[in-house]
Protein backbone atom coordinates (compact mmCIF):
# COMPACT_ATOMS: atom_id res chain seq x y z
CA UNK A 1 0.00 0.00 0.00
CA UNK A 2 1.17 3.44 -0.79
CA UNK A 3 0.68 4.75 2.70
CA UNK A 4 3.67 7.03 2.64
CA UNK A 5 2.00 9.04 -0.09
CA UNK A 6 -1.02 9.48 2.08
CA UNK A 7 0.62 10.61 5.26
CA UNK A 8 3.87 12.50 4.86
CA UNK A 9 4.81 14.21 8.08
CA UNK A 10 7.08 17.22 7.87
CA UNK A 11 9.92 18.62 9.82
CA UNK A 12 10.82 22.14 8.88
CA UNK A 13 14.29 23.36 9.67
CA UNK A 14 15.57 26.82 9.00
CA UNK A 15 19.30 26.74 8.40
CA UNK A 16 20.30 30.34 7.90
CA UNK A 17 17.59 31.57 5.68
CA UNK A 18 16.54 35.19 5.43
CA UNK A 19 13.18 33.97 6.77
CA UNK A 20 11.53 34.62 3.43
CA UNK A 21 11.21 30.94 2.56
CA UNK A 22 10.11 30.08 6.08
CA UNK A 23 7.26 32.49 5.90
CA UNK A 24 6.20 30.83 2.68
CA UNK A 25 6.46 27.37 4.26
CA UNK A 26 4.25 28.50 7.08
CA UNK A 27 1.91 30.12 4.59
CA UNK A 28 1.55 26.72 2.96
CA UNK A 29 0.43 25.33 6.28
CA UNK A 30 -2.30 27.91 6.81
CA UNK A 31 -5.98 27.07 6.34
CA UNK A 32 -5.75 28.82 3.00
CA UNK A 33 -3.74 25.97 1.50
CA UNK A 34 -4.82 23.32 4.04
CA UNK A 35 -1.98 20.84 3.65
CA UNK A 36 -3.75 18.43 5.99
CA UNK A 37 -5.95 17.54 3.00
CA UNK A 38 -3.01 15.45 1.82
CA UNK A 39 -2.39 14.02 5.26
CA UNK A 40 0.54 16.36 5.71
CA UNK A 41 1.31 17.37 9.27
CA UNK A 42 4.04 19.65 10.45
CA UNK A 43 5.41 17.65 13.39
CA UNK A 44 8.32 19.73 14.61
CA UNK A 45 10.04 16.55 15.75
CA UNK A 46 12.49 14.59 13.61
CA UNK A 47 11.54 11.31 15.25
CA UNK A 48 8.03 11.61 13.94
CA UNK A 49 8.87 13.07 10.53
CA UNK A 50 9.25 11.64 7.04
CA UNK A 51 10.11 14.76 5.09
CA UNK A 52 12.75 17.27 6.09
CA UNK A 53 12.12 20.73 4.66
CA UNK A 54 15.30 22.75 4.68
CA UNK A 55 15.37 26.47 4.04
CA UNK A 56 18.45 28.62 3.86
CA UNK A 57 22.13 27.85 3.48
CA UNK A 58 24.26 25.61 5.65
CA UNK A 59 26.85 27.41 7.74
CA UNK A 60 29.24 26.61 10.59
CA UNK A 61 26.52 27.08 13.18
CA UNK A 62 23.93 24.76 11.78
CA UNK A 63 25.97 22.12 9.99
CA UNK A 64 25.93 19.75 12.94
CA UNK A 65 22.37 20.61 13.85
CA UNK A 66 20.91 19.63 10.53
CA UNK A 67 23.01 16.48 10.43
CA UNK A 68 21.81 15.52 13.86
CA UNK A 69 18.17 16.19 12.95
CA UNK A 70 18.56 14.11 9.83
CA UNK A 71 20.11 11.27 11.79
CA UNK A 72 17.17 11.31 14.20
CA UNK A 73 14.61 10.75 11.47
CA UNK A 74 13.61 7.12 11.11
CA UNK A 75 13.93 5.55 7.64
CA UNK A 76 12.56 5.98 5.03
CA UNK A 77 13.01 9.74 4.77
CA UNK A 78 13.47 12.45 2.15
CA UNK A 79 14.97 15.91 2.23
CA UNK A 80 13.50 18.84 0.32
CA UNK A 81 15.58 21.95 -0.15
CA UNK A 82 13.33 24.99 -0.30
CA UNK A 83 14.57 28.15 -1.99
CA UNK A 84 17.73 29.11 -3.77
CA UNK A 85 19.70 29.29 -0.56
CA UNK A 86 19.05 25.64 0.17
CA UNK A 87 20.15 24.83 -3.36
CA UNK A 88 23.46 26.61 -3.56
CA UNK A 89 23.79 28.98 -0.67
CA UNK A 90 22.04 31.65 -2.76
CA UNK A 91 22.97 35.20 -1.93
CA UNK A 92 24.82 33.94 1.16
CA UNK A 93 27.05 31.57 -0.80
CA UNK A 94 30.09 33.83 -0.57
CA UNK A 95 29.90 34.37 3.18
CA UNK A 96 32.95 33.41 5.20
CA UNK A 97 31.08 30.74 7.19
CA UNK A 98 28.74 29.30 4.57
CA UNK A 99 29.32 25.79 3.30
CA UNK A 100 26.74 25.92 0.54
CA UNK A 101 23.25 24.53 0.12
CA UNK A 102 21.57 21.85 2.18
CA UNK A 103 23.49 19.21 0.24
CA UNK A 104 26.62 20.34 2.07
CA UNK A 105 25.25 18.61 5.15
CA UNK A 106 22.66 16.01 4.16
CA UNK A 107 21.63 14.16 0.99
CA UNK A 108 18.91 16.24 -0.67
CA UNK A 109 16.29 14.49 -2.77
CA UNK A 110 14.53 17.41 -4.32
CA UNK A 111 14.81 21.17 -4.65
CA UNK A 112 12.04 23.71 -4.80
CA UNK A 113 13.30 26.77 -6.66
CA UNK A 114 12.46 30.37 -5.95
CA UNK A 115 13.52 33.30 -3.86
CA UNK A 116 11.37 33.03 -1.97
CA UNK A 117 9.76 29.76 -3.07
CA UNK A 118 6.00 30.17 -3.47
CA UNK A 119 3.66 28.15 -1.27
CA UNK A 120 2.17 26.45 -4.32
CA UNK A 121 5.55 25.28 -5.50
CA UNK A 122 6.46 24.16 -2.00
CA UNK A 123 3.33 22.04 -1.88
CA UNK A 124 4.12 20.76 -5.32
CA UNK A 125 7.65 19.91 -4.20
CA UNK A 126 6.45 18.06 -1.15
CA UNK A 127 3.98 16.04 -3.21
CA UNK A 128 6.80 15.12 -5.60
CA UNK A 129 9.11 14.28 -2.72
CA UNK A 130 6.49 11.96 -1.37
CA UNK A 131 6.78 9.88 -4.55
CA UNK A 132 10.45 9.46 -3.81
CA UNK A 133 9.60 8.63 -0.21
CA UNK A 134 7.28 5.90 -1.38
CA UNK A 135 9.98 4.49 -3.67
CA UNK A 136 12.40 4.46 -0.78
CA UNK A 137 9.86 2.72 1.41
CA UNK A 138 9.26 0.06 -1.23
CA UNK A 139 12.97 -0.44 -1.66
CA UNK A 140 13.34 -0.73 2.10
CA UNK A 141 10.63 -3.32 2.28
CA UNK A 142 12.27 -5.22 -0.59
CA UNK A 143 15.60 -5.15 1.20
CA UNK A 144 14.00 -6.37 4.38
CA UNK A 145 12.25 -9.17 2.53
CA UNK A 146 15.43 -10.35 0.82
CA UNK A 147 17.25 -10.14 4.13
CA UNK A 148 14.72 -12.37 5.88
CA UNK A 149 14.68 -14.73 2.91
CA UNK A 150 18.45 -14.93 3.02
CA UNK A 151 18.34 -15.54 6.74
CA UNK A 152 15.79 -18.28 6.26
CA UNK A 153 17.93 -19.89 3.58
CA UNK A 154 20.98 -19.68 5.76
CA UNK A 155 19.04 -21.39 8.52
Amino acid sequence: MSLFKKSPWLLHYNCSSCNGCDIEVLAALTPMYDLERFGIINTGNPKHADVLLVTGSVNDQNLEVIRSLYAQMPDPKVVVGVGICALSGGIFAQCYNVHGGAAAAVPVDLYVPGCAARPESIIDGVIKAVEILQQKADAMRGRRRTATAAAREAA
Binding site: F4, E36, G39, N42, N45, P74
Partner: protein
Protein backbone atom coordinates in the same frame (compact mmCIF):
# COMPACT_ATOMS: atom_id res chain seq x y z
CA UNK B 1 -17.33 -14.08 33.74
CA UNK B 2 -20.27 -15.10 31.57
CA UNK B 3 -20.44 -15.32 27.80
CA UNK B 4 -21.72 -11.79 27.24
CA UNK B 5 -18.83 -10.60 29.34
CA UNK B 6 -16.30 -12.40 27.17
CA UNK B 7 -18.11 -11.15 24.11
CA UNK B 8 -17.98 -7.56 25.35
CA UNK B 9 -14.28 -7.80 26.09
CA UNK B 10 -13.54 -9.31 22.68
CA UNK B 11 -15.67 -6.70 20.97
CA UNK B 12 -13.59 -4.02 22.68
CA UNK B 13 -10.24 -5.63 21.94
CA UNK B 14 -11.04 -6.09 18.27
CA UNK B 15 -13.49 -3.31 17.56
CA UNK B 16 -12.14 -0.41 19.58
CA UNK B 17 -9.21 0.39 17.26
CA UNK B 18 -11.61 0.75 14.35
CA UNK B 19 -14.08 2.83 16.30
CA UNK B 20 -11.29 4.87 17.88
CA UNK B 21 -9.59 5.45 14.55
CA UNK B 22 -12.80 6.60 12.92
CA UNK B 23 -13.44 8.86 15.86
CA UNK B 24 -9.98 10.37 15.47
CA UNK B 25 -10.62 10.86 11.75
CA UNK B 26 -13.93 12.55 12.42
CA UNK B 27 -12.24 14.67 15.06
CA UNK B 28 -9.72 15.91 12.51
CA UNK B 29 -12.35 16.69 9.93
CA UNK B 30 -14.52 18.56 12.40
CA UNK B 31 -11.50 20.45 13.65
CA UNK B 32 -10.60 21.38 10.08
CA UNK B 33 -14.12 22.59 9.38
CA UNK B 34 -14.09 24.70 12.50
CA UNK B 35 -10.92 26.32 11.18
CA UNK B 36 -12.41 26.84 7.72
CA UNK B 37 -10.48 24.00 6.10
CA UNK B 38 -11.52 20.85 4.35
CA UNK B 39 -9.30 18.54 6.35
CA UNK B 40 -8.00 15.06 5.76
CA UNK B 41 -9.99 12.02 4.69
CA UNK B 42 -11.91 10.16 7.36
CA UNK B 43 -9.50 7.25 7.22
CA UNK B 44 -6.45 9.47 7.66
CA UNK B 45 -5.59 8.15 11.16
CA UNK B 46 -5.40 4.63 9.75
CA UNK B 47 -3.08 5.80 6.97
CA UNK B 48 -0.88 7.46 9.54
CA UNK B 49 -0.66 4.45 11.77
CA UNK B 50 -0.12 2.12 8.82
CA UNK B 51 2.69 4.29 7.63
CA UNK B 52 4.28 4.48 11.06
CA UNK B 53 4.27 0.70 11.29
CA UNK B 54 6.30 0.59 8.09
CA UNK B 55 8.94 2.97 9.31
CA UNK B 56 12.08 1.90 11.05
CA UNK B 57 12.18 2.10 14.79
CA UNK B 58 14.57 4.48 16.53
CA UNK B 59 15.03 4.08 20.25
CA UNK B 60 17.07 6.04 22.74
CA UNK B 61 17.48 2.90 24.81
CA UNK B 62 16.14 -0.62 24.50
CA UNK B 63 13.89 -0.30 27.55
CA UNK B 64 11.56 2.26 26.01
CA UNK B 65 9.36 -0.23 24.14
CA UNK B 66 8.84 -2.21 27.31
CA UNK B 67 7.01 0.65 29.01
CA UNK B 68 5.05 1.23 25.87
CA UNK B 69 3.82 -2.34 25.87
CA UNK B 70 2.94 -1.94 29.51
CA UNK B 71 0.91 1.15 28.64
CA UNK B 72 -0.96 -0.66 25.91
CA UNK B 73 -1.39 -3.87 27.89
CA UNK B 74 -2.96 -2.14 30.85
CA UNK B 75 -5.22 -0.09 28.63
CA UNK B 76 -6.40 -3.36 27.16
CA UNK B 77 -6.87 -4.81 30.62
CA UNK B 78 -8.84 -1.75 31.68
CA UNK B 79 -10.98 -1.79 28.57
CA UNK B 80 -11.60 -5.50 28.61
CA UNK B 81 -12.56 -5.24 32.24
CA UNK B 82 -14.96 -2.42 31.52
CA UNK B 83 -16.62 -3.93 28.49
CA UNK B 84 -16.92 -7.33 30.07
CA UNK B 85 -19.05 -5.70 32.74
CA UNK B 86 -16.37 -5.80 35.42
CA UNK B 87 -15.44 -3.60 38.33
CA UNK B 88 -15.29 0.11 37.51
CA UNK B 89 -12.91 0.88 40.33
CA UNK B 90 -10.44 -1.70 39.07
CA UNK B 91 -10.82 -0.27 35.58
CA UNK B 92 -9.78 3.12 36.87
CA UNK B 93 -6.83 1.58 38.70
CA UNK B 94 -5.71 -0.25 35.57
CA UNK B 95 -5.94 3.04 33.68
CA UNK B 96 -3.68 4.60 36.28
CA UNK B 97 -1.15 1.81 35.81
CA UNK B 98 -1.24 2.40 32.07
CA UNK B 99 -0.64 6.11 32.59
CA UNK B 100 2.29 5.46 34.88
CA UNK B 101 3.80 3.13 32.29
CA UNK B 102 3.56 5.82 29.62
CA UNK B 103 5.26 8.31 31.91
CA UNK B 104 7.98 5.83 32.84
CA UNK B 105 8.74 5.24 29.16
CA UNK B 106 9.36 8.95 28.72
CA UNK B 107 11.40 9.12 31.93
CA UNK B 108 13.46 6.23 30.64
CA UNK B 109 14.45 8.12 27.49
CA UNK B 110 15.81 10.78 29.81
CA UNK B 111 15.74 13.71 27.42
CA UNK B 112 14.43 17.16 28.27
CA UNK B 113 11.25 17.09 26.18
CA UNK B 114 10.31 13.57 27.16
CA UNK B 115 11.05 14.42 30.75
CA UNK B 116 8.83 17.48 30.79
CA UNK B 117 6.16 15.45 29.08
CA UNK B 118 6.40 12.73 31.69
CA UNK B 119 6.25 15.17 34.58
CA UNK B 120 3.27 16.91 33.08
CA UNK B 121 1.58 13.60 32.38
CA UNK B 122 1.90 12.76 36.05
CA UNK B 123 0.61 16.22 36.96
CA UNK B 124 -2.38 15.66 34.74
CA UNK B 125 -3.00 12.33 36.38
CA UNK B 126 -2.84 14.00 39.76
CA UNK B 127 -5.31 16.57 38.49
CA UNK B 128 -7.94 14.20 37.14
CA UNK B 129 -7.57 11.18 39.41
CA UNK B 130 -9.79 12.48 42.26
CA UNK B 131 -12.64 13.41 39.95
CA UNK B 132 -12.34 10.12 38.09
CA UNK B 133 -12.61 8.21 41.34
CA UNK B 134 -15.50 10.40 42.43
CA UNK B 135 -17.28 9.63 39.17
CA UNK B 136 -16.94 5.93 39.94
CA UNK B 137 -18.10 6.48 43.50
CA UNK B 138 -21.03 8.49 42.23
CA UNK B 139 -22.13 5.72 39.90
CA UNK B 140 -21.87 3.37 42.84
CA UNK B 141 -23.90 5.63 45.05
CA UNK B 142 -26.58 6.03 42.43
CA UNK B 143 -26.83 2.42 41.27
CA UNK B 144 -25.52 0.49 44.27
CA UNK B 145 -22.82 -1.37 42.45
CA UNK B 146 -19.30 -0.97 41.18
CA UNK B 147 -19.88 -3.53 38.46
CA UNK B 148 -20.54 -2.21 34.99
CA UNK B 149 -22.98 -5.02 34.29
CA UNK B 150 -25.08 -4.03 37.31
CA UNK B 151 -24.94 -0.37 36.40
CA UNK B 152 -26.21 -1.32 32.96
CA UNK B 153 -29.16 -2.93 34.67
CA UNK B 154 -30.20 0.18 36.59
CA UNK B 155 -33.68 1.48 35.88
CA UNK B 156 -33.11 5.21 35.51
CA UNK B 157 -30.15 7.14 34.15
CA UNK B 158 -27.55 7.86 36.84
CA UNK B 159 -27.28 11.28 35.21
CA UNK B 160 -30.54 12.28 36.90
CA UNK B 161 -28.96 11.97 40.31
CA UNK B 162 -25.45 12.88 39.29
CA UNK B 163 -25.56 16.08 37.25
CA UNK B 164 -22.62 17.55 39.17
CA UNK B 165 -20.57 14.42 38.88
CA UNK B 166 -21.28 14.28 35.16
CA UNK B 167 -20.16 17.87 34.62
CA UNK B 168 -17.05 17.24 36.68
CA UNK B 169 -16.39 14.14 34.65
CA UNK B 170 -16.74 16.10 31.40
CA UNK B 171 -14.20 18.53 32.76
CA UNK B 172 -11.55 15.92 33.41
CA UNK B 173 -12.50 14.12 30.22
CA UNK B 174 -10.86 17.03 28.44
CA UNK B 175 -7.63 16.17 30.23
CA UNK B 176 -7.98 12.48 29.57
CA UNK B 177 -8.69 12.99 25.88
CA UNK B 178 -5.59 15.19 25.71
CA UNK B 179 -7.49 18.19 24.47
CA UNK B 180 -6.71 21.85 24.86
CA UNK B 181 -6.77 23.67 27.29
CA UNK B 182 -5.29 20.75 29.23
CA UNK B 183 -3.10 19.25 26.58
CA UNK B 184 -0.01 19.72 28.73
CA UNK B 185 1.94 16.56 28.22
CA UNK B 186 1.69 15.72 24.53
CA UNK B 187 0.76 18.95 22.80
CA UNK B 188 -0.77 17.30 19.78
CA UNK B 189 -0.85 20.60 17.94
CA UNK B 190 2.60 20.83 16.47
CA UNK B 191 5.24 23.41 17.18
CA UNK B 192 4.89 24.06 20.84
CA UNK B 193 7.43 24.48 23.54
CA UNK B 194 7.40 20.84 24.64
CA UNK B 195 7.71 19.55 21.04
CA UNK B 196 5.66 16.37 21.42
CA UNK B 197 6.16 16.01 25.14
CA UNK B 198 5.81 12.52 26.36
CA UNK B 199 5.90 10.95 22.88
CA UNK B 200 8.87 12.95 21.61
CA UNK B 201 11.34 10.11 21.70
CA UNK B 202 9.15 7.41 20.25
CA UNK B 203 9.18 6.80 16.52
CA UNK B 204 7.86 4.50 13.84
CA UNK B 205 6.02 1.41 15.10
CA UNK B 206 6.32 2.57 18.70
CA UNK B 207 4.57 5.82 17.90
CA UNK B 208 1.94 3.85 16.03
CA UNK B 209 1.30 1.79 19.13
CA UNK B 210 0.81 4.96 21.16
CA UNK B 211 -1.74 6.16 18.62
CA UNK B 212 -3.61 2.86 18.73
CA UNK B 213 -3.49 2.91 22.52
CA UNK B 214 -5.10 6.34 22.49
CA UNK B 215 -7.88 5.04 20.31
CA UNK B 216 -8.52 2.29 22.78
CA UNK B 217 -8.45 4.79 25.61
CA UNK B 218 -10.88 7.15 23.90
CA UNK B 219 -13.37 4.38 23.24
CA UNK B 220 -13.12 3.29 26.84
CA UNK B 221 -13.73 6.84 28.03
CA UNK B 222 -16.74 7.28 25.81
CA UNK B 223 -18.03 3.99 27.15
CA UNK B 224 -17.69 5.55 30.57
CA UNK B 225 -19.74 8.53 29.41
CA UNK B 226 -22.44 6.15 28.15
CA UNK B 227 -22.83 4.74 31.65
CA UNK B 228 -24.42 7.99 32.76
CA UNK B 229 -27.25 7.56 30.26
CA UNK B 230 -27.70 3.88 30.81
CA UNK B 231 -31.28 2.67 30.50
CA UNK B 232 -31.80 4.83 27.44
CA UNK B 233 -31.60 3.03 24.14
CA UNK B 234 -27.97 2.05 23.44
CA UNK B 235 -27.97 3.94 20.15
CA UNK B 236 -29.13 7.07 21.94
CA UNK B 237 -26.48 6.57 24.60
CA UNK B 238 -23.76 6.23 22.00
CA UNK B 239 -25.08 9.26 20.14
CA UNK B 240 -24.95 11.28 23.35
CA UNK B 241 -21.42 10.06 24.02
CA UNK B 242 -20.35 11.13 20.54
CA UNK B 243 -22.03 14.47 21.10
CA UNK B 244 -19.92 14.76 24.23
CA UNK B 245 -16.86 14.05 22.17
CA UNK B 246 -17.78 16.77 19.69
CA UNK B 247 -18.22 19.13 22.59
CA UNK B 248 -14.68 18.31 23.66
CA UNK B 249 -13.45 18.97 20.12
CA UNK B 250 -15.18 22.31 20.23
CA UNK B 251 -13.51 23.14 23.53
CA UNK B 252 -10.21 21.97 22.08
CA UNK B 253 -10.47 24.43 19.23
CA UNK B 254 -11.62 27.40 21.20
CA UNK B 255 -9.22 27.34 24.13
CA UNK B 256 -5.58 28.15 24.50
CA UNK B 257 -3.58 25.89 26.73
CA UNK B 258 -3.60 26.55 30.45
CA UNK B 259 -0.67 26.40 32.80
CA UNK B 260 -0.34 23.34 34.99
CA UNK B 261 -1.13 25.31 38.13
CA UNK B 262 -4.52 26.21 36.75
CA UNK B 263 -5.05 22.70 35.48
CA UNK B 264 -4.49 21.14 38.88
CA UNK B 265 -6.37 23.82 40.76
CA UNK B 266 -9.34 23.91 38.43
CA UNK B 267 -9.78 20.18 38.26
CA UNK B 268 -9.49 19.76 42.00
CA UNK B 269 -11.98 22.49 42.66
CA UNK B 270 -14.30 21.04 40.06
CA UNK B 271 -13.89 17.67 41.67
CA UNK B 272 -14.77 19.07 45.07
CA UNK B 273 -17.41 21.60 44.10
CA UNK B 274 -19.27 19.54 41.52
CA UNK B 275 -18.35 15.94 42.23
CA UNK B 276 -17.99 15.66 45.96
CA UNK B 277 -20.78 18.14 46.66
CA UNK B 278 -23.06 16.11 44.43
CA UNK B 279 -22.21 12.96 46.36
CA UNK B 280 -22.77 14.66 49.69
CA UNK B 281 -26.13 16.11 48.64
CA UNK B 282 -27.22 12.76 47.29
CA UNK B 283 -26.18 11.21 50.57
CA UNK B 284 -28.29 13.74 52.48
CA UNK B 285 -31.35 13.29 50.29
CA UNK B 286 -31.30 9.54 50.65
Amino acid sequence: MDMTGVGGALLFLIGAPFAGGLLAGADRIVTARMQGRIGPPLLQPFYDVGKLFQKSRLVVNPFQPFYLWGFLAFLLVAGALFFSGGDLLLTVFALAVAGVFLALGAFSANTPYSHIGAERELLQMMAYEPMLLIAVLGLYQSTGSFLVRDILGSDRPPLVELPGVFLGFLFILTIKLRKSPFDLSTSHHGHQEVVKGITTDYSGPDLALIEVAHWYENVLLLGFVCLFFVPLHPALGIALAIATYLLEVFVDNTHARLRWQHTVKLSWWTGAALGLANLAILDLIR
